[in-house]
Amino acid sequence: MRSSRVILFTLLAAAWAALAIFPVLWMAAMTVKPEALMFARPPVWWFTPTLEHVHYVVAEGFAWSLVRSLMVAGLSTLLIVIIGTPAAYAFARFSIPRRDDLLLFVLATRLAPPVALVIPFYLIYARIGLLDTYAGLILAYLTFNLSFYVWVLWSFCRDLPPDLEEAARADGYPRIRVLLHVVLPLLRPGIIATSMLCFIFAWNEFLYAFMLGGKAVETLPVAVPKLITSQGVKWGELSVVGISALIPILAAVFVLQRHIVRGLTMGAVKG
């Protein structure tokens, strides 16, 4: 009785997961589907795979967009870890005047709609010549990612028992050494999880990259419309690009799992 109940619910949950993942698998099949079968009615499920779409994408230099995406997401995440880690720690440990107001400001920055933020960025960048530069895009990504990082890492910092730090301080270690040798190792899982989420957000980001980037700093999401040509939409090629944008995400999802809920609810739900 009990085990049949478990099997029933497992099947239900598995079906649900299949529903969530099915469109992805269908797109994955499109990457190797011959052009001629793509528009068949009814849609074709079985076919001999072809590599023509992959070849086209490689020949068009989409690999460079991939590299640019990696650079922008990687560098902005690195910058965020360097700036954000001490900030999050300070919020958790020191008495900061008007701390609650500052925290609310951090949260509001994260929740603000990007479309309202991109306007002033665009105008300011146009004036000081930061449009279509790596520095400009990386700086713009700090708006949502830095606040996200500080906020979520702050929730990790509060989970650390202060006793260890106090013991080290009592033994006469200066604050900086306590930070480097006690706090950082304890925070490492939190830092890794949060920064991976930041990386994903930057990697996925479209609007800023679309408006503030351009030719020189063309990230992968922005390169996609190039496949919508005057001869029609290159669906197979689009799928190849889509899948290659998805692969790092799939890897990250497997590693992160429990931390995703915590991150996406801004630390309100401990996964």
Binding site: P23, V106, V115, T265
Partner: protein, 275 residues
């Protein structure tokens, strides 16, 4: 902190400044007072877009909430193979909006799309073109995409909440002979309430500001059938270069979001003891 002030506060103040001035050809002109706000409030297209956003949120969020809660309760019945099921459920949530758009363009493409052919045409809902090109159905197609993308996340967030509930009250209830339904109504719901409020509010905020998927799937069209507030702002700025009213819209949206964020913060802090 200073960095955050620079990257977030400066653009905000600049927008407020812009919204109070007359702007022609991207040049800041004379002080205009509240004229931009008046123009905005007199623009029927703004109200139309606010209606679209509200409709989108009003359908999508309750659906995601209800389905998510149901799914979480299913997951909570000692489901096996969670090591595979859980990551699979996370995939839509973590996916780039561009990928989501490609995916659903393929699924919903007119005539040859898998869903178009097998479901939409079969049930005679629409033939010949994609639902995304139909003025009456495009918005519901976008709701479908949003529900597909965010229900699994709601499900996993609620599941995380269910997993962290204390066991003692349930044991006591079982001893007292309470049924499953009673335990759910009297224990699970009240215990989960603050958490549900926080997750629901967060989803509300995110659903309200959704831009990328709509922009990429329909571009606000056909016509203005799916033009949400975010798309309205985008178009006033980058298509019409109407910066004054656009900045005013941005400020209005910002103030609204600040209120939302404050609500989230207060509930999460006071009721959930999260922060």
């Amino acid at each position: 902190m200073l960095t955050l002030v620079v990257v977030a506060l400066v653009p905000f103040l600049y927008t407020v400044y812009l919204s109070l001035h007359e702007i022609r050809h991207a040049q800041v002109g004379d002080w205009a007072g509240l004229a931009n706000y008046r123009t905005l409030l007199a623009n029927p297209r703004f109200w139309h877009s606010a209606g679209i956003s509200l409709l989108f949120v009003a359908i999508a969020v309750p659906l995601e909430f209800g389905l998510g809660l149901t799914g979480a309760l299913i997951l909570n019945q000692g489901v096996r193979l969670r090591a595979i099921i859980v990551p699979a459920l996370f995939v839509p949530t973590m996916m780039a909006p561009v990928v989501v758009a490609i995916l659903w363009k393929i699924m919903l493409a007119g005539s040859w799309g898998l869903l178009s052919y097998n479901v939409i045409e079969r049930f005679g809902i629409l033939t010949g073109t994609s639902v995304l090109a139909s003025p009456s159905l495009a918005l519901y197609a976008l709701v479908l995409v949003d529900v597909w993308q965010w229900t699994p996340f709601m499900m996993l967030a609620f599941f995380a909440g269910l997993q962290s509930l204390p066991l003692t009250p349930y044991r006591a209830a079982a001893v007292d002979g309470a049924s499953d339904l009673q335990a759910f109504r009297r224990l699970t719901l009240p215990l989960m309430a603050p958490l549900m409020a926080v997750i629901g509010l967060l989803r509300l905020i995110d659903a309200f500001k959704v831009f990328d998927t709509i922009f990429l799937l329909t571009g606000g069209g056909p016509g203005t059938a799916t033009e949400s507030t975010s798309l309205f702002v985008y178009k006033t700025v980058f298509d019409f270069w109407d910066l004054g009213p656009a900045s005013a819209t941005a400020v209005v949206i910002w103030i609204m979001f600040f209120a939302f964020a404050n609500g989230f913060y207060q509930i999460a802090r006071r009721r959930l003891g999260a922060f």
